[in-house]
């Protein structure tokens, strides 16, 4: 049986070293004071001045100090850039489902809360689609948990590839995904849901196996005055109705 690549999906984090273009700083040649000192030192009328060797020594030390300062800043920038990337990676980890790379519940709730406020402030509607993989338990039982994991990863990729950039796909738990469709009413979300059902035709290849998938989906629109949990519950009830009606279909909540 083929093995599943269990590497975290966070491995797609920004490539280290790609975000900072480093240019080696050799010397601060444009320093005004240094240029003036060098002009004085090279002027023919000053060549006999007994102070020239002292000034030259001073200029040399001053230049060395400037180079050292630049060096310290360059090296410090390196460490700062490293910290910044680590922070971004941690931020991403805190918001991502490690297996699938989809949003986790924390990220989902924050985005839903932002949508709720937007809906109440501007009247911009948003909808939720709860997606459940049909017969997922059977996939796990038949092909093993590695195959189940592969299915979850592929479904997350499929859903994210077929929603808009501004929408959010989160792993709600187990084999359920919750999609936030922003600025969308129920009639439009029905079109999206049916599109997802229709294009999910190609089987998932797992070793020698071809695993065919269908989804049961429930959609609900957020209505002002509702709590987010009430909206999720409506999507959940609709999804269970889709299961009850024979799976592989979308049911839109009318509450």
């Amino acid at each position: 049986m083929a093995s599943v690549d269990h590497k975290s999906r966070l491995d797609h984090a920004p490539d280290k070293g790609a975000t900072l273009f480093r240019k080696r700083v050799q010397a601060p040649v444009e320093d005004e004071a240094l240029l003036k000192m060098n002009t004085i030192l090279t002027a023919p009328e000053h060549q006999e001045n007994p102070l020239v060797p002292y000034v030259r020594n001073f200029a040399h030390k001053y230049q060395k100090l400037l180079i050292r300062l630049n060096k310290i800043l360059t090296i410090s920038d390196f460490y700062y850039a490293e910290l910044r990337e680590l922070n971004l990676a941690l931020e991403k980890t805190a918001r991502t489902d490690l297996l699938t790379g989809a949003s986790n519940r924390k990220d989902l709730y924050e985005k839903m809360e932002a949508e709720r406020k937007r809906a109440e402030r501007n009247g911009m509607p948003f909808c939720l689609i709860l997606v459940d993989i049909d017969h997922f338990k059977r996939i796990n039982d038949t092909y093993g948990h590695d195959a189940g994991d592969r299915v979850l990863v592929e479904v997350a990729d499929f859903l994210r590839a077929n929603i808009r950039r501004e929408d959010t796909c989160a792993r709600w738990g187990g084999d359920e995904f919750l999609i936030i469709m922003t600025s969308m009413n129920l009639s439009n979300v029905e079109v999206v849901g049916r599109k997802l059902l229709n294009i999910r035709e190609a089987p998932i290849v797992y070793g020698e196996q071809r695993i065919r998938l269908t989804f049961s989906m429930g959609a609900a629109a957020f209505r002002n005055g509702q709590t987010l949990d009430e909206c999720i519950k409506n999507a959940d009830i609709a999804m269970y109705l889709a299961k009850k009606r024979g799976k592989n279909q979308l049911v839109v909540s009318d509450t």
Binding site: G17, R24, R68, I72, F78, A81, E82
Partner: protein, 127 residues
């Protein structure tokens, strides 16, 4: 000659010198609240020690430094440069994370400041 052994803390590196081997090791992370205060006794110790040795090795394996620690480390290197000019055989070994392409750049940044023998050694995850 005095040995030196400072255990690492959350913000300061492990610093150890073994007189038998003549190796000063600095490893860990360095971002003390006051780097100059932290490194002052080390610099004083180093000045004394360099007067008493004919061979000296510095091994650096530091994954993070704040700006003032960078300054202090360069001060250490300056002391070694001076001792090298006085005839002490000095070698510096810089260990870097080979999985991080930037850390080689960093090693080379330090190398530019140094005329002494300077080896850049990759650390792999197995190291």
């Amino acid at each position: 000659m005095n040995s030196l052994n400072l255990e690492a803390t959350i913000s300061t590196p492990h610093i150890q010198f073994e007189p038998e081997t003549g190796v000063l090791l600095i490893s860990g992370e360095s971002y003390p609240e006051n780097s100059f205060e932290f490194y002052a006794p080390i610099l004083a110790w180093l000045k004394e020690t360099l007067l008493q040795v004919s061979d000296f090795k510095l091994k650096i394996n530091v994954s993070y430094m704040n700006s003032s620690s960078v300054k202090c480390l360069l001060d250490i290197v300056d002391l070694l440069e001076e001792a090298g000019a006085e005839g002490v055989n000095i070698e510096i070994f810089w260990y870097y994370d080979s999985a991080n392409p930037r850390s080689l750049d960093l090693a080379e940044d330090f190398q530019e400041e140094i005329t002494l023998p300077f080896s850049i050694i990759p650390l792999t995850t197995e190291s």
